[in-house]
């Protein structure tokens, strides 16, 4: 990228600009592309969601504007822009006005670290993964601002519920990712992706495996459990059914969005759909290899080593193929989200928090322990006083790690299911109702 801009500006146009200008041009260009792509994703996703959910509910869905209703989101966007912007007189003007911005801005910052292909990386940060989750947690403040600033009880309830849910589910989400970080030993999304080559086992574990781009972490017991926990937490973070409690339309109108109209409402919608896209994308990247897939690595290596003319073609092909894999995986997860919306009713807030504290968090903690054992079995050796591990072959070490973590994780899962079942049976209906009234009283 740097070389290309350098070539265009300095060689072809002969401007002789200094290096920092080239960096600036590069980053502004990338940011511009991302700022266009992210809203486009939102338009596409709203259309997809409406069509898929209509199909599941035996309806037709939007099919009038454009071929198969494809331009419906554009029409919706025009409607949003032309609507009157109503600010309630009793609201806190500035807080009400700033809240949508505080919700949208972090989501767009999150876009900046997501790798789309082998070389389609906006910013390769060493802390990419941590940055992603740190920034995503900021939007909780925006939700509370929206809920409080509107001066409406439904808004306030929605804002409180949203913040409670986000803070609670951040813990299992981050803990399940911690397992992947322990196994790979890095927080860089690019490095986590590069490791996921290979066939069934990642390149980190067994280096002799053929690199077919299929060494996804979901094939390991640690990665599989982490994937399940993370995806459930992602549903809660993205406020998807069955966790769409903050904007439960049948209870509190639209939650924190109740008093917003026009484009401010549109901004909340934009933030939500881009966030859902990003959560699906990060699921695909961490557990399903992102752009990794059969053929990408081969094309990419050809692109690097072949003759100057051929290399560009191969590099472009590798990136296009990687992008296709990445988007296919991401859209598949979004489809699963819509599917869940069609299949499940909404949870109550106490069920949501119970599920988080009594099931997800213990499970992810056990998973962190198994991830540590995995890392010990694969990476440790004589420096740590475990010289006998070095004597074993790569496959033997991998097999040992696999069996060990499989047993631990399966036992933890079965045990937790049993514990939660029995404790669920012991509470009578009356106690359950009391529980519920207690918890809703604290949250309302």
């Amino acid at each position: 990228m740097y070389e290309v801009i350098d070539h265009v500006l300095n060689v072809q146009m002969g401007l002789g600009v200094p290096g920092w200008v080239i960096h600036l041009v590069r980053h502004v260009t990338v940011a511009g592309i991302l700022l266009v792509i992210a809203p486009l994703q939102m338009l596409l996703l709203t259309y997809l969601e409406r069509r898929i959910i209509a199909r599941m509910q035996d309806r037709v869905g939007p099919n009038r504007v454009g071929p198969e209703g494809l331009f419906q989101p554009v029409a919706d966007g025009i409607k949003m822009f032309t609507k009157e912007d109503i600010v309630p007189t009793a609201s806190d003007r500035w807080v009400h006005l700033l809240a949508p911005c505080v919700v949208v801005a972090p989501v767009f910052l999150m876009v900046s670290v997501v790798p789309w292909g082998p070389e389609l990386v906006p910013i390769d940060m060493n802390l990419g993964l941590l940055f992603f989750f740190a920034v995503s947690s900021v939007s909780g403040a925006g939700l509370l601002m929206a809920g409080w600033g509107s001066n409406n009880k439904f808004s306030l309830l929605g804002g409180m519920r949203a913040a409670a849910q986000m803070v609670a589910y951040e813990i299992p989400a981050v803990l399940s990712i911690l397992a992947i970080v322990i196994v790979t030993g890095t927080l860089s999304l690019v490095k986590i992706l590069n490791v996921q080559g290979g066939l069934f086992t990642s390149l980190n574990d067994v280096s002799s495996v053929p690199n077919l781009g299929l060494g996804w972490f979901v094939f390991t017991p640690v990665g599989f459990l982490a994937f399940l926990c993370f995806f459930i937490s992602a549903l809660a973070e993205g406020e998807r059914t069955p966790f769409d409690i903050p904007e439960a339309d049948s209870e509190i109108v639209a939650g924190y969005m109740t008093e917003y109209s026009g484009m401010k409402f549109g901004l909340f919608y934009l933030a939500q759909y881009v966030l859902n896209f990003l959560l699906c994308a990060i699921t695909a990247i961490l557990f399903f290899g992102g752009w990794q897939g059969p053929g990408v690595e081969w094309l990419h290596s050809r692109g690097v080593t072949a003759s100057p003319d051929g290399s560009v073609v191969f590099t472009i092909l590798a990136n296009v193929l990687g992008l296709a894999y990445f988007l296919a995986k991401t859209y598949f997860f979004f489809f699963v989200m819509v599917w869940l919306r069609g299949a499940f009713p909404r949870l109550r807030i106490d069920q949501l928090l119970d599920f988080c504290w009594k099931f997800l968090i213990p499970l992810t903690l056990v998973n962190v322990v198994s991830a540590t054992l995995w890392a010990i079995a694969i990476q440790w050796g004589s420096p740590q006083g475990l010289a006998f591990l070095e004597g074993m072959g790569e496959w033997a070490r991998w097999g040992m790690a696999f069996a060990l973590t499989l047993v631990i994780n399966a036992a933890a899962y079965i045990g937790l299911v049993r514990v939660n079942e029995t404790s669920g049976n012991q509470t009578t209906v009356a106690e359950d109702r009391q529980d519920r009234s207690m918890k809703t009283a604290t949250l309302s």
Partner: protein, 197 residues
């Protein structure tokens, strides 16, 4: 380049101090909490300017993402939610607070100021070249090692302190099931009403 960095530093510092002043002078307690978030963000930006990206990210994650949201949450649960009537005014003996704060701040900052080997006259460090990568920073690995080796005791004490806080919060919030008001189920209510007949 040095000038640019200094200008950015002054802007960020002004933002932090301004927001912090707003925290203590804002009449509305929710506004005060929101200004505190702005101040925390400024500190994160300052870390970024110092090229301590890990600290910057953690500052945002912990202070903006968790602590200030919990603060807002607590305010909204305990205070009059609209924020009206939560007028803050200066305590009469405000100068006592000022002195205590100044002394505490001096106790923290003085050893650093006195003991740090200030390099005032050295040339500006070579900027990362346009072609090469910036030099490796003291990264997460070093930090993690320091926590479990050199600073193990403070680390563990902090962990125990947090645990104590957690247990205390649960003890305060916990209510015995038997002590709660009994809410009859529909079946119990029906049975209760039928009894007199």
């Amino acid at each position: 380049m040095q000038l640019l960095v200094q200008v950015i530093f002054v802007l960020i510092a002004a933002e932090i101090v301004g927001a912090a002043v707003m925290v203590v002078t804002a009449k509305n307690i929710v506004h005060a909490a929101l200004w505190l978030i702005a101040s925390f963000c400024g500190v994160g930006a300052l870390y970024l300017l110092l090229e301590a990206e890990f600290l910057a990210v953690v500052q945002v994650l912990v202070y903006v993402g968790a602590i200030s949201i919990l603060m807002l949450f607590a305010i909204m649960l305990t205070r009059h939610v609209t924020g009206k009537g939560a007028e803050t005014s200066l305590y009469q003996r405000w100068w006592v607070g000022l002195i205590v704060a100044a002394v505490l701040f001096a106790a923290v900052i003085a050893p650093t100021v006195l003991a740090h080997p200030w390099e005032t006259a050295t040339a500006a460090p070579a900027l990362p070249g346009e072609t090469g990568q910036p030099a490796a920073m003291a990264g997460i690995v070093d930090l993690g090692r320091a926590f479990v080796e050199e600073y193990l005791l403070p680390f563990e004490i902090a962990a125990v302190l947090l645990l104590v806080g957690l247990v205390g919060a649960i003890v305060i919030a916990f209510e015995e099931r038997a002590a709660r008001r009994h809410i009859p189920t529909l079946a119990e209510e029906v049975a209760h009403r039928r009894q007199p007949e």
